[in-house]
Amino acid sequence: MKALRKCAGKENGGSRRGRPVGDHETKRGAFLNAGIKVIAEQGFAGASLRKVAERAGHTTGAIAHYFENKEQLFAAIVEALFDRFDAMLGAAPENETILRRFRRWLEMSDSSVWVAGFQMLARARLDPALAAIYQQHHARYRRIAVVRIEQEQRAGLIRNDIPADLLADQIGALADGWSMMLPIERERFGPEHVERLLDALILQLSPPRR
């Protein structure tokens, strides 16, 4: 959390110096994307601010203007990944079921996002600031999912013999599990296979046919 506030402060600092905000955001976004690629290729341990700056075609000095250290960059990348997820959810039609949304999420990311995502999730076990970001977002999605699942249970779309909060946790844990298995076994977890897995899950969570 502290890292986040620092990031926000830095952004304000940038615009105070008269730098156009749009330019600032674009450059920051380019560093975040470069960071995802470097982490995906070299792992968390192998990624450095210098490598990320080089990858984005800038100097170490330029990236230091946006991120004080590696930890801050990674916290920002995790936030950016959650932002993308939120944007995807926001763009979904209002009446789309939770499992369709889950499918959308599985389809939206390229492999470097998966690999980098897992690197960061694995890193969170050692980094309390990063873990706090995950915990906060997990709790938020869980609240949203519980409300949604309860609605779908009432509408007869999801079986109602399992409490909504347990189903929400099940989907949350599955999401983490998938994000870790997909990059390890990229060939196995191709789009068709993921589709079949989701169909099975939907069948298992459907109310019994009458």
């Binding site: 995906a40 290729e41 070299q42 792992g43 968390f44 341990a45 192998g46 690999v115 897992f118 690197q119 999730l121 694995a122 890193r123 969170a124 076990r125 050692l126 873990a131 995950y134 915990q135 997990h138 709790a139 079986r159 013999d161 399992i162 347990l166 189903l167 946790d169 099940q170 949350g172 844990a173 599955l174 999401a175 983490d176 599990g177 998938w178 870790m180 298995m181 990059p183 390890i184 076994e185 196995r188 296979h193 079949r196 897995l197 099975a200 899950l201 069948l203 298992q204 969570l205 109310p207 019994p208 046919r209 009458r210």
Partner: protein, 223 residues
């Protein structure tokens, strides 16, 4: 390599004629693996040098190289040691539904020791990703577990204890993802996703595999 791992970590059966000297050597190796696990869980994979492991053990790197070829061997064995016990995917043909549930839930991060094991596992995965050749070797373990799970699920479906309208391969895939996901979730958010919660989530996934009056077709007649 795997065979050695199994012997040294107590998964397989120890030969009866193992001499006292080799038993002592085994003990040293097990102690070393335990120390390695602590270092990795606490500081991460990249910090687990021979020197750090020796320090944790209160010994010298010279003693370590007497028992292990190199750091790679220690790390490999430490990883495999994190995944032993009930979750090695061997089920007798007469395993019941409850045995499957027990096998998975017992291996979740329930206490400090198992939490450390999970941290080591994640550390290892994170380290593997940029090294495709090693990741491939590890993927073989997943494949082995999944096969055993799919087989057990298929057997239970034949006996009518699991619904028969789900492909056992897909159920095994999802189970493994759910299991790993519950572990990573529990490791990152131990307060909101503790042992009881993880167990409840897994048990309720198993619940969705149970035959249901409206959804079963042929299973009633089988067994």
């Amino acid at each position: 390599m795997v065979r050695v791992t199994e012997r040294k970590t107590g998964i397989g059966s120890r030969t009866a004629e193992a001499s006292a000297a080799s038993a002592l050597a085994d003990e040293r190796r097990i102690e070393t693996l335990r120390a390695t696990r602590s270092v990795i869980a606490r500081e991460g994979f990249e910090k687990a040098s021979m020197r750090a492991i020796a320090r944790e053990l209160g010994t010298t790197t010279g003693v370590l190289t007497h028992h292990f070829r190199n750091k790679e061997e220690i790390l490999d064995l430490a990883l495999h040691a994190t995944r032993h016990g009930k979750y090695d995917g061997r089920f007798p043909p007469d395993a019941r539904f409850e045995d499957l549930v027990d096998a998975l839930t017992a291996t979740l991060p329930h206490n400090q020791g198992s939490l450390d094991s999970w941290k080591v596992f994640f550390a290892f995965l994170a380290y593997l990703f940029p090294q495709p050749d090693k990741a491939e070797r590890y993927a073989a373990d997943f494949e082995r577990w999944r096969k055993a799970w799919a087989m057990a699920i298929a057997t239970l479906a034949d006996r009518g204890e699991i619904r028969d309208d789900i492909d056992p391969q897909l159920a095994a895939d999802t189970l493994l993802c759910l299991f790993e996901g519950a572990g990573v979730h529990g490791t990152v958010s131990p307060e909101s996703f503790g042992a009881d919660r993880q167990t409840a989530v897994l048990i309720h996934y198993f619940e969705t595999l149970r035959p249901r009056s409206g959804a079963r077709s042929k299973s009633r007649g089988v067994g």
